[in-house]
Amino acid sequence: MISLTLDGRAIQVQPGTNVLQAALSNGIHIPHLCHHPDLRPSGGCRLCMVEIGGRPNPAAACGLLAEEGMAVTTQSERLTEMRREIIDLFVSDHPLRCVTCDKNGVCALQRYAYDYGISETSFDFELSRTLYQDDNPMFVRDHQYCILCGRCTRVCDEIVGANAIEISGRGFVSHVATPFDWAMSDSTCVFCGNCVQVCPVAALMPRGRIGMGREWELEHVRTICGYCGVGCGIDYAAKDGKILYAQGFPEAVVNGEFLCVKGRFGWDFVGNPERLTRPLVRRDLAHRLGLIDDPFSLPEESVFTSRIGVENFVPVDWETAVDIVAGQLLGTVEAHGPDAVAGLTSARCTNEDNYLFQKLMRVGIGTNNIDHCARL
């Protein structure tokens, strides 16, 4: 362990820890924009500059390995002045339209501008990038908000490996681009949206979220992704019971902040009116079991809106449905033996569900005829 002091506080960290991580994990917040714990340090935003005892010039904490006996100052008049200047430079190239911005409340630049009291730039305002790219159904890239922190390009390269985007051009006019500024769909993008996840400002936004509400109005629900067996943690942000976007969260054990395209953007089925919400029984069976009198009459309220064959089903309650299934299964086992029954379960179910299902098949039914789609 390495011992160092942060603002006079003695702390201990593992060798190889950088000063920024050391500070953050000890509850000392050093402003940072380009740093992300899962990405290699970049050192481009220059906000995390700290003073080191015995060194004349401040250094970026994100690229500074903690050393034994190091005395780090994270707040000082000089550092505050410098951070104010840097934020001032940032907002000279970033519209401060926070009032109507969808990132309002969760924007890192806004946070620091607030912390350091920068309400507008003292320089001449000049936008270097004005492109607005909404060429795909997943997310929108609004270049005027981009601060070129490079998190999106790094996540695409280091975490995802899609290498769809890279900073193109040089200097003030450089921008994040697909090859030849093609549409995202023509690039190697896999639309995992992890770039959207790590964007600290409003440059990358989920398409469905835009204009749908302010961050503090949203309800966050954390759950496990149902798409496959990996078990990624997902945080759904919803307003008035409708999901606006999905995001990862750092505490998720399996995936951290990162998701795949299905987890991040494949949730629109949730609110789909065609989704089954109640058990349905085929009309002829329902008639045979005495659940309905007239096999040809239509139900009063239709459970479907559009599907052809609506009239072939009858909605029932869960108890009835389970009774029917159990009865049919038992009948089959009695008549043809347990191996006449086979079970196929789904990756969309949880691990626990799958476990119980095979238990049901093996112990309840008495067959090993059990399979799972994720086995393939």
């Binding site: 050192g43 220059r46 010039n57 410098m82 840097i86 940032f90 200097g171």
Partner: protein, 540 residues
């Protein structure tokens, strides 16, 4: 000894028309059937007199310049008779002595790294060998690497790229790294506008650089050496390719060099035009085939450089100094310079000066010697106003401080830097605000865009300077500019950004009155700035 006619055909010579001079000389030789050797050499440094022609015959050596093709037969007739002794303008004769002691431009110099530039044929290995070439390498390979490093440390050679870090110490750090393989990089990405030291050295004497690198490879234990050469230097690349091929044939590259067990190969990497690639981490990214953006140090390249392996990066001039150190001994080299830094430094002396070109002087020489004795003052006969050192990363030293010694520490005290060797002299027709603005235009253009202080900060600095040059500046702008300079200087990620404010800071420090005149009176004292918005500043 037979008669040799030497013609300087470096880039500078070619720009002055040296190729047609070579043709004219060859035609003359063919016509007159005179028994001479016509030799194409590098640049002697006296670029202001290009094209240079030197005729050496037994102990006589006459240096002519500038020699246009029309003057060729006039000049050569003096040596080979004929023409009825036509009159040759005495001003064309620059020197009549083999050591050029009668030519003030060359007489005041001490040539170490450029000793053979303009003297030998850069395409000829034999020429280099005849002048002691690869002797130092032979000596070095018989010494243990530690002793080579000790010699370089004792010589007090410091990084000639401008930072001034002890070369020997850098080698030692790289040698101590356990990781293998180790790489060597020769930084020839001479991006400073107004600098051509590396170009002259490579074009004039490429083998010296290779020899320096080979000695470094032995000392450090490196197995591969990259020569990163600027894209704008096609002749230098040609000279290096030829030299590497010759070195391979001669047996000083490849496997088991001269029986020492050292394996080493050279790779030439042509830059693609990015000033920031002179910064070592950016340069390494460029070699790796990435965008040439810098990354944070530490880790320093000596510890984790190219692809994470220990990498030693030195400037061309540092490498070119190495053979002399080993041949003449570290004490000799150290004695040339000052207490802290040994040896000589080459400068590209340009601008308003009468005699411009490549100049090599011992460290510790006062700036005045270069500007007045070697450079001969301003060609306009106007007073020298300032000397700009180190290009866009450097600063201006005003005429009052011309007695400053050329030394890393002394120059830093003035606010300027040693830099890689660009030295631009300006007379009083130059507006210092416009001059600072010129450098900012360059830096702003060359900023890679990775860090904010440089990407946005230099642009805002340029904006303020442009306002001042257009007569719209205020005192608040000056104050804002000063504060911004401090932010960019301390806040930037790499050397490009941290040094970008230097031209502004030094001109503000020494020529504050000019800034104030622009702001208060709306006047450009030098009459350069148009003082009107939306117009080109230099209204030629």
């Amino acid at each position: 000894m037979s008669t040799v006619i030497r013609i300087g055909t470096s880039t500078c010579g070619q720009a002055a028309g040296a190729e047609s001079v070579v043709s004219a000389v060859n035609a003359y030789v063919d016509r007159r059937q005179v028994p001479v050797t016509v030799q194409r050499t590098g640049c002697l440094g006296a670029c202001h007199n290009e094209p240079l022609v030197e005729v050496t015959d037994n102990d006589v050596a006459v240096l002519y310049g500038p020699v246009s093709p029309e003057r060729v037969s006039l000049v050569l007739d003096r040596h080979f008779g004929g023409g009825g002794g036509r009159w040759v303008d005495p001003s064309w004769i620059l020197s009549r002595r083999p050591d050029h002691d009668d030519f003030p431009f060359l007489a005041r110099q001490t040539k170490v790294t450029t000793r053979l530039c303009g003297v030998i044929d850069p395409m000829s290995l034999d020429d280099y060998l005849a002048n002691g070439g690869y002797m130092a390498l032979r000596d070095a390979l018989r010494m243990p690497p530690e002793k080579v490093i000790a010699a370089v440390k004792d010589s007090r050679l410091r990084g000639r790229g401008g930072a001034g870090f002890s070369t020997g110490t850098k080698w030692e750090i790289t040698r101590r790294q356990p990781a293998s393989p180790k790489f060597l990089i020769c930084n020839a990405d001479e991006g400073d506008p107004g600098a051509f030291m590396n170009r002259t050295m490579i074009e004039g004497d490429p083998h010296r650089v290779l020899e320096g690198m080979l000695i470094a490879a032995w000392a450090i234990g490196a197995s591969k050496g990259y020569l990163y050469v600027r894209a704008e230097y096609p002749l230098a690349v040609k000279a290096l390719r030829n030299a590497i091929r010759q070195a391979a044939e001669y047996g000083v590259t490849g496997k088991n060099i001269l029986g020492s067990g050292l394996d080493f190969e050279f790779v030439i990497k042509e830059g693609a035009g990015a000033f920031v690639c002179g910064e070592e981490t950016a340069l390494m990214h460029s070699i790796e085939g990435q965008r040439g953006t810098p990354s944070m140090r530490p880790p320093y390249p000596s510890v984790a450089g190219l692809w994470g392996y220990p990498t030693n990066i030195n400037n061309v001039e540092s490498f070119a100094s190495i053979p002399s150190i080993l041949l003449h001994g570290p004490a000799w080299f150290a004695a040339l310079g000052t207490e802290q830094s040994g040896g000589t430094k080459a400068f590209a002396l340009t601008g308003a000066v009468r005699a411009s070109g490549l100049v090599e002087v011992p460290l510790g020489t006062p700036l005045r010697t270069l500007v007045e004795e070697i450079g001969g003052g301003c060609k306009s006969d106007r007073p020298v106003k300032a000397v700009q050192l180190g290009g866009p990363s450097g600063g201006c030293v005003p005429a009052e401080l011309l007695d400053t010694r050329i030394d890393y520490e002394d120059l830093r005290r003035t606010g300027a830097i040693m830099g890689s060797g660009g030295m631009v002299v300006v007379d009083d027709t130059t507006c210092m605000v416009d001059f600072a603005r010129y450098f900012l235009t360059f830096t702003q253009d060359e900023s890679c865009g990775k860090c904010v202080p440089c990407r946005v900060g230099t642009r805002k600095m340029l904006g303020i300077l442009t306002k001042i040059c257009h007569g719209q500046g205020t005192h608040q702008d000056l104050e804002r500019l000063t504060r911004l300079c401090e932010t960019v200087r301390t806040g930037s990620l790499c050397g490009l950004g941290t040094t970008a404010p230097n031209p502004v800071l030094t001109t503000m420090r020494y020529f504050e009155r000019e800034y104030v005149a622009h702001v208060d009176a709306g006047l450009c004292p030098a009459g350069i700035c148009s003082m009107r918005p939306g117009t080109s500043t230099r209204a030629a």
